[in-house]
Subunit: 199 residues, 2 copies
């Protein structure tokens, strides 16, 4: 039967590589693709190849970019005294969407995880520390995720960056805007109370 | 900023073509793809192109296939006296997964929809009727969806196929196996009562 077609099986397998996509969704995507006009399918295929060929990591901040350095590192309108450290390009993208941050970035592409062999070298902290040498950067904001690994990475960064005499700060954790206090979990509430500020 | 990269935007746009994928999921897929090793990304791209190039519609039953005719039409082990009519290849695939159906298929690739210009010609009912001419086929089972269009298409098929002296049947509609009667909607329950069988 058709489902044994190696081309169809391969199509399902590649879709299953996507995050959160199981066998059922992958089949649905594959069947939908095969119902599309051939030129649109080739366009799909080409878009994937083109993205991989043209998008790479910025040599300065390691964010995704199709220019070298990236538009943010090259911009004359960004605040060059601040660097925000994020785990993934998606973090930088989320902060950019907010639109209020005007500084630069450093993308770790991971978190410290000694058991998995991820140390400061893999996160290229050398690149970050080198950017602090000329004294232009006054503050490093650590925006790693609020997970055990993210917190540990933040503490490590605080020590290393602090040793170079640069101010290190951590983004605030607390009740999300628009979120009711009664819906926040206890750990978030404890952090919100600890991080209270004077009105 | 990076999100303005035309390559990234194009990648998001093509992912948004997939069923049920909005902007957020498309961004997640795109970022995940860019975090994968280049050879795996090229493999993704190639799998899509290869599927489109090698998979087409069976000239007999219009199911998806990478051979001509398809494996089911060519098989000597299928019951050639029965044809099951489905709207989409996904319907045939679901029935094949059940494993109990041993007959052949006809895939409509749509339903009758006069307002959208979909008539019997678009569904290639001529191909189906032609297969009934030599008298080998004894029964046509209509497994179109239980929607207004699917029902209308089933009734139209019953008239056309019946006129050729071939038995036409409709798959049963009722409470799904494993489903509680109290959770079934009223239309389904009415169909289940109408379609009751003697124990």
């Amino acid at each position: 039967m058709f489902t044994q077609s190696p081309y169809f099986e391969r199509l399902i397998e590649v879709f299953r590589n996507l995050p959160g996509v199981g066998r059922k969704s992958a089949e649905r995507y594959a069947l939908h693709l095969l119902s599309m006009a051939p030129e649109r399918v080739y366009d799909f295929s080409d878009a994937i190849r083109a993205a991989r060929e043209h998008i790479s990591w910025c040599p300065i901040c390691r964010n995704l970019t199709d220019t070298s350095p990236c538009a943010i590192c090259a911009s004359g309108r960004r605040d060059r005294a601040t660097i925000c450290v994020v785990e993934q390009p998606s973090g930088a993208m989320a902060i950019e969407k907010g639109g209020s941050y005007r500084g630069l970035y450093h993308v770790l592409h991971g978190v410290l995880d000694p058991l998995e062999g991820v140390g400061p070298e893999e996160l290229r902290l050398d690149l970050l520390l080198k950017r602090l040498e000329d004294g232009e950067v006054k503050e490093v904001i650590v925006a790693t995720n609020a997970t055990a690994e993210g917190e540990a990475t933040a503490l490590y960064l605080a020590r290393r960056v602090g040793a170079q005499g640069v101010k290190v700060s951590r983004i605030a954790h607390g009740v999300p805007m628009g979120g009711g206090v009664e819906y926040a979990d206890s750990v978030t509430l404890a952090r919100a109370l600890d991080g209270r500020s004077r009105l």
